[in-house]
Structures are given as C-alpha cells and as structure tokens.
Symmetry: C2
Subunit: 322 residues, 2 copies
C-alpha cells in the first residue's frame, strides 16, 4: 500500500485531507489554541488491552482534554501516523474510526495529516481550538487560598487497565465503568467551557497524568503549594483495588488518563460555583484541597509523592500491589 | 532525565512551552492554515549524514514549505518528539537548535509540544500559518493550458545526499551548494506569498517528494494531465551525477526534498508574471511544461514514471546508477 492509497481510504473519515495544508476561518472574537501529543505503541498503549479504534479514540481524547483545560472548544485536528510494518489498511481504518468518532462527538473534523513508516505504531495529533480571550485559563493562575476541585472521581481508567491485565470478580456495571473509562474516556469539554467562563476560576489543568503529577504542575506554574484534603475515588476503582488488595487512593493519585479537570477557585466563590456546576451537570464539583503559599504539597500530613505517569521517564513510583 | 527536566532545558528556545495548550490571536482578515509532518530516523533521515541540528532544521523546513505552497506565512509551531533511549539532553538541545533557527529565520516561534519515549527518534511537527483568503492556493486549481513552472533548479538536495554517502571530486562551491541544499534547505516562503498573490496562479505545490510525484499530485487534484517540456537541473546536481555516471535529470525528477514550488499559471499571464518574479527575486521562474486535458503526464514523448519519494511506500523507482 502507498501513501496515496491510504489517504484515499481514510478520506471519507476526514474533511479535505490530501492537500499539504488545511485552511480554516478562525473566529474573529476568539483566541485560537493548539495542543499536540505523541503516542507510541508499547509506551502509551498496547494492542492486547484495547482495539485500534479505542487507541484512536483515546489519543484524540487526550488532545481534546488539553483544550478543555484552557476552556477552548476544538475546531479541527491533524493526525500524523507512523505505521509499523505489520499494520494494514484495515488497521489504519480502525484507528481512524476512533479518531473520527471522538472528533464527531466533540463537533470537529480531521483536516490533514501525514503518513510515515515506523518501527512502532506512532500517533501524533495536533488539535486546534478556540476560546474567548477573557475566558482562557492556564495551569499558572492559581493563588494561595484557592479551593482545589476536580470534575469527577478518579482512578477508573487505571482500574480498567488493571482489569485488562488480570480480570477480577466484579459487579458487571462496575466492570463496564472501569473498562469504558480506560478504553473510551470522555474529555470534560462542556465542564471546561463552563468553568473557564467563571472569573473565579484562577487555574485549570486536566488530570491525564495522575492527580499527584498534575496538581504538582498546577502548583509549580502558579508558584504555590497545596494541601490535599480528600481524593474522590471512582466506585469502580475502589472495587478493583479492594479485589486486588491495593490502596484505591493510589489509583486516583497516580493512575492517570482520567481526563477529569482540576481547578483552582477563589475560596469565597467556591460554594456558589459548585452549586451552579451541580445544577448544570447533575454531578458534584469535588473539593480536594486548597492552594497555599508554602511550596510543598501536603497529603495526610506528609509531603505528597509525585507518582503519576511521566510519559518520558515512565511511571515513577506507582507499583501495583505496593 | 524526566519530561519536565527536558522541557526546562528547551524552554529558552521556545515561546511559552510548558502548558498543555498554547493560545494566539489569529489575524482578523486572514484564513488560518495548518500543516503537519512526521519524520522517523532511519526512514526520513540518518544521523551519519547530518547533525541533529540539521535534522531539526530540515524537519521544520518541510512544514514551512507546505505552508509556502498555500501562500501562507507561518505564525507558530508545535513539536512532538519521540526520543530513542540513546538520546540525551544535549541531543535534544541540538535538535531544538535546528527547529528554532529555522523558525527564527521565518519569523515564528515554537509554542508547545510533547515528549515521549520511542524506539527510533521521531519528530512530529505542526505549523500554523495565515493567508489572505483571496490568495490561498491549493494543488487542485490547475486548468488545461496552464503553464507549469518551478521556483528553482532541482536535484541539489539529492546530490548532497549522494555526497554524504560517497564523496566525489567536485569544485568546492558546488560541493557546498549540494550539501547545503541537503542539510539546510530553504523553504520558498517569500516566493509562495508572491505567487499566491497573483490571480493568474491557479495551483501550487512544493516539490518536496520529487517533481515527478508532486506534478502527478497537482495533476490528479486538478483533474488534468501534463506535458513536461524541460527540467531545470541544479548545477551541483549535474556535477555530482556526471561524476557518478548517472542521469542528472533523474536527480531533479525523483530526488525530493528540494522544496522548490511548482505552480500552474494562466498561459497569457505567464510571461508577465515570470518577469515580475525575476525582478523581485533576481532569479528566473523556470517554465517546465503545460497542463493539458488528457490525464497522462508526458515526458520526452513517453509517460512519465512516478518515481519520487513516497515516505510510506519508499522510493518506488529511483535506483542510483540506473
């Protein structure tokens, strides 16, 4: 198969792919935003744990989640693929099916990309989005005293990963929830836009590398420390951890790939914002702690270990069963 | 080394890298454009033929050239890197030095990216640019009768590659020209903007995959065929081919990585445009042929072999010495 043959096959799943550059009309009243990610088979995913369609979905979701954390909505994506020798056109179609399904659900299109040979299947995605300038958030705006909160309970994606490695006996809806969180995670796009629209949200980041790592990044960028008070653990994560005799909180702190948003909110405004959030989304904005001036991050009276997934250095501290 | 350590090291070569998404204010009067590419060590480049700084320069240039072919000017880039185990921080800095030098010369910044482990050094770049809507060109606008022209003589990059494989005796300025075309190619940004501003330019594409491949792509997208009349061969390519007893025209047709632009121009306007071009740039716009309604591409009275570099299928017909 040649590059042009593959492009012909995937063209129906994209919009205008085939030219060297794709054009679009940016909104006049918004800032543009861009996020890019690379995923490598054997480093970020393995094909025994999920289908290539799931791999595609997750890869696209990770980029959408980065935009969600700025308050942006995605408008288009480009996808560059490095294809290992064993990959055929059907595999590429399956992968693109995942990209396109995620993009369609979030209301945008894949407009271009590139194809290359590679030893390991490699996915590089760039997603462009738009956000009203006054709404745009970053990880760096937090202030001492801000309440820290997350948009959902954590650890389910990690529980799903564990289930694909070694099944445990579980209620079927919990098993489904864990596997779905792992294979078909949802970026918190609507949540991100809602929270970004509030002047009382000072900073936002997604928890895709694990709460402990992403909280540390928010703190560092904001020049703050934090006290972590409580960590909401997904029911499915608690069940899997219990069945395996592990600490469920570690799934939530170090699990990664959860795609919940972590926000820093002005303390006086938190109760009101959390109420509006619950009314809008039908689920709570979970308070997890507070930012403070001292640079440490404290958890249960001790410094919090930064134990999330570092895609370059590898998982640094989380050891299943530890 | 961890992801955050590498980011700290390369931050001075970038603008605002470190957040999950980068924001910018798009021009109100322009379309935005995006191009993305993936380069893999061993497929697109080897480190014995050039420094990592050259690799970085070339990778960025390839994307800038894609934008040049639409008439756009680049405004920012994101870079996702897959780092092989043997790559250290000094290597990453060298590579980024090449990205940053190319970006600085073209007047834009690297605003974000991603780092991953990988078996082979892998570079995925997305460049965003801007172009006045009325100027934007694509490969698909050519019409039968249009004159085909290129912005410069071809084959020098291929000659440089050959020189790194097996040196031949050559005048030093020709050797320099060939090696420079291979290691530090220039995207035709100013040429692209100049040509795009003409209503008489119907289609534009860069020759980065070799004139025979890129001409075929322009023809296919435009629903035309072509007659290729003459192919301008770079002096350094002619010299290297002569020294090796090879056909210099094959360097030009199938060499690839030349980054000259191929344009289709209304026949009545060609002479005037070529005159303005020569006055503006001090070098000729080389007429190479003409588009025609019949779908074939003819060269020397026979169908033109599509012999350029297909980064997925591999070089399909060019065999040095053939």
């Amino acid at each position: 198969m040649t590059e042009d043959e593959i492009i012909a096959a995937i063209r129906p799943l994209t919009k205008g792919i085939g030219d060297d550059a794709a054009l679009w009309q940016p909104s006049r009243s918004h800032r543009s935003a861009i996020s890019s990610d690379m995923l490598v088979e054997g480093v970020h995913f393995t094909r025994d744990a999920m289908s290539l369609e799931d791999v595609g979905w997750r890869a696209m979701t990770a980029n959408v989640s980065d935009l969600a954390a700025t308050g942006a909505r995605p408008v288009l994506a480009t996808v560059a693929l490095g294809l290992a020798p064993a990959i055929g056109i059907a595999d590429v179609m399956e992968l693109y099916g995942g990209f396109a399904a995620c993009a369609a659900e979030a209301g945008f299109s894949i407009v271009g990309g590139d194809l290359s040979r590679s030893d390991a299947l490699t996915i590089a995605i760039a997603v462009v989005g738009e956000v009203r300038a006054s709404n745009a958030k970053s990880r760096g705006g937090g202030r001492p005293g801000d309440v820290l909160a997350v948009t959902g309970a954590l650890g389910a994606a990690r529980a799903g990963l564990e289930l694909t490695r070694a099944p445990v006996h579980l209620r079927s809806e919990l098993e489904r929830a864990a596997l779905c969180a792992f294979r078909r995670p949802q970026a918190r796009l609507s949540d991100g836009r809602f929270l970004a629209a509030s002047r009382n949200v000072d900073a936002m980041i997604d928890c895709s590398d694990g709460l402990s790592t992403d909280l540390a990044r928010l703190c560092e960028a904001s020049g703050c420390g934090a006290t972590l008070e409580s960590v909401p653990v997904a029911e499915s994560a608690a069940a899997v951890a219990a069945a395996r005799g592990e600490d469920p909180v570690r799934y939530a702190l170090a699990g990664g790939e959860d795609f919940e948003l972590l926000v820093a909110v002005r303390p006086r405004a938190f109760a009101h914002l959390a109420g509006r959030y619950a009314a809008r989304f039908g689920r709570p904005l979970h308070r997890v702690g507070v930012l403070r001036a001292a640079p440490e991050i404290e958890w249960n009276g001790a410094p919090l270990e930064r134990s999330g997934w570092d895609h370059f250095g590898g998982r640094t501290a989380f050891t299943p069963g530890a």
